[in-house]
Amino acid sequence: DGKPPKFQPPPKPVIIDRKTQKEERRFLSPEFIPPRGRTDPLKYYIERKDMIQRRKVFNIPEFYVGHVLAVTTADPYASDKSNRFVGICIQRGGKGLGATFVLRNVIEDQGVEICYELYSPRIQAIEVLKLEKRLDENLMYLRDALPEYSTFDVNMKPVSRMDHEEIPVNKLQVRMKPKPWSKRWERPKYNIKGIKFELPEHKMKAAQKWSQPWLEFDLLREYDTSKIEEKIRKELREELEK
């Protein structure tokens, strides 16, 4: 037509700043975040000082549930006084100095789980062999899964990885042994996404009877940790730079 075409402004350039993105993604180990309660914050401050002191002497790497770790501990009863165990981390629990993580492996057809304390002085080395996150934060269902999903080679070589890459998420869906299981993993309370449920439709529907959809809207259960995390990150940065 006679009118000139409408002015289209040029598209704005999108600037991706790699450095600030890396700052945002900075990992804070979950045991630093204090739980909700009536304890004096001074107690958590003192505990954090001890934890930072230990981390200065002994390197605790960044790891999540689903990573394959090799842990060497001091063992007074072994012939060369040390004990190396390789396994997948299925759970990270505890807060403060008593933080623990559970490693699982299947050795000679026997499932073995060992619960290690992160800050115990008997641990001599923690190496991350394979970095991958899984779909859930708690892999306890591997006890009822087929043993092939929990076997890892004891002499596995560490998989190399670049520093700035995102930690890959393994969307593996695990196949289970026939029921009965140790826990009813199909129930919505566990909210597991990493199992390939081969149960009939009516059983899956019956499990939804125990769902509690009001829980995510419960205001009393909300615990916003963003500000606390910022303060703790700042504290950690200052202490580790000293």
Binding site: G37, R38, T39, D40, L42, K43, I46, E47, D50, Q53, R54, V57, F58, A74, D75, P76, K81, S82, G96, L97, G98, E117, Y119, S120, P121, R122, I123, Q124
Partner: protein
């Protein structure tokens, strides 16, 4: 409560106790009190003076100290008398010493006989009519009365109890914190009385304690943390066995 580790790698649990604004309030001589030793009244934790009448403030005005939440008595020998008004610090105790800790236990309210005294109750089925948690018989036929002190339901908790012979593992002089072995009666952030142990096994365990107490304006300059010999300090490398 917090975990600590010994130099041989064993884990112990400790309770953190904070010494908050403790002052000596009054000296009561042996003849005045009528006991075997002289007494010192000590008050802890400053609190608002407006919730009590002026008559209750006399002790604190004499000592020149703000109103305290709790006032306790300590039996003291004549060579350990301290002038009223002196502050008391956590450095009064040293690592390796043994202490008794007294506090009011957590109140449980009116409780039945099974929780309060540990009775076994009655079976859940097999014909029991309305009797599952009751005390059963309370006396014999020949007694013809119920003895005084018979264990019966009533108010449980909220009474003073003492834990004896607890080892002091560590003292933090900057924040006035005492790390005491094991657990202590009372809820979190409750007021607690810490005293040198009167058990006969620990009679001679105090080697050169600060006597009569630790004076902050004296010549002694203590480091921020005082540790026991057996404790594993986080500045050392990991434990190895030979």
């Amino acid at each position: 409560m917090m975990p600590i580790w010994t130099k041989s790698g064993e884990k112990r649990a400790v309770t953190l106790l904070k010494v908050q604004d403790c002052h000596v309030l009054r000296y009561v001589s042996k003849e005045e009190s009528g006991g075997k030793t002289a007494k010192l009244l000590v008050g802890g934790k400053n609190v608002s003076p407006f919730s009590k009448p002026e008559s209750a403030h006399e002790i604190f005005k004499e000592a020149g100290v703000p109103r305290k939440q709790k006032v306790t008595t300590f039996n003291v020998t004549d060579n350990a008398i301290i002038k009223p008004g002196t502050p008391l610090y956590a450095a009064h105790f040293r690592p390796g010493q043994f202490v008794d800790v007294t506090a009011k236990t957590i109140g449980k309210g009116f409780q039945g006989v099974m929780k309060r005294w540990g009775f076994k109750g009655q079976p859940a089925s097999h014909g029991q009519t309305k009797t599952h948690r009751r005390p059963g018989a309370i006396s014999t036929n020949q007694a013809a009365k119920v003895y005084r002190g018979k264990k019966m339901p009533g108010k449980m908790g909220n009474i003073y109890r003492t834990s004896f012979g607890l080892k002091v593992w560590r003292i933090n002089t900057k924040h006035d914190i005492i790390y005491v072995n094991g657990s202590v009666p009372g809820h979190t952030n409750c007021l607690v009385k810490v005293r040198d142990s009167k058990l006969p096994t620990y009679k001679d365990c105090n080697k050169n304690p600060p006597f009569p107490t630790f004076f902050a304006d004296g010549d002694e300059k203590l480091p921020e943390d005082l540790f026991d010999e057996e404790i594993f300090q986080f500045t050392d490398p990991s434990v190895t066995y030979t």
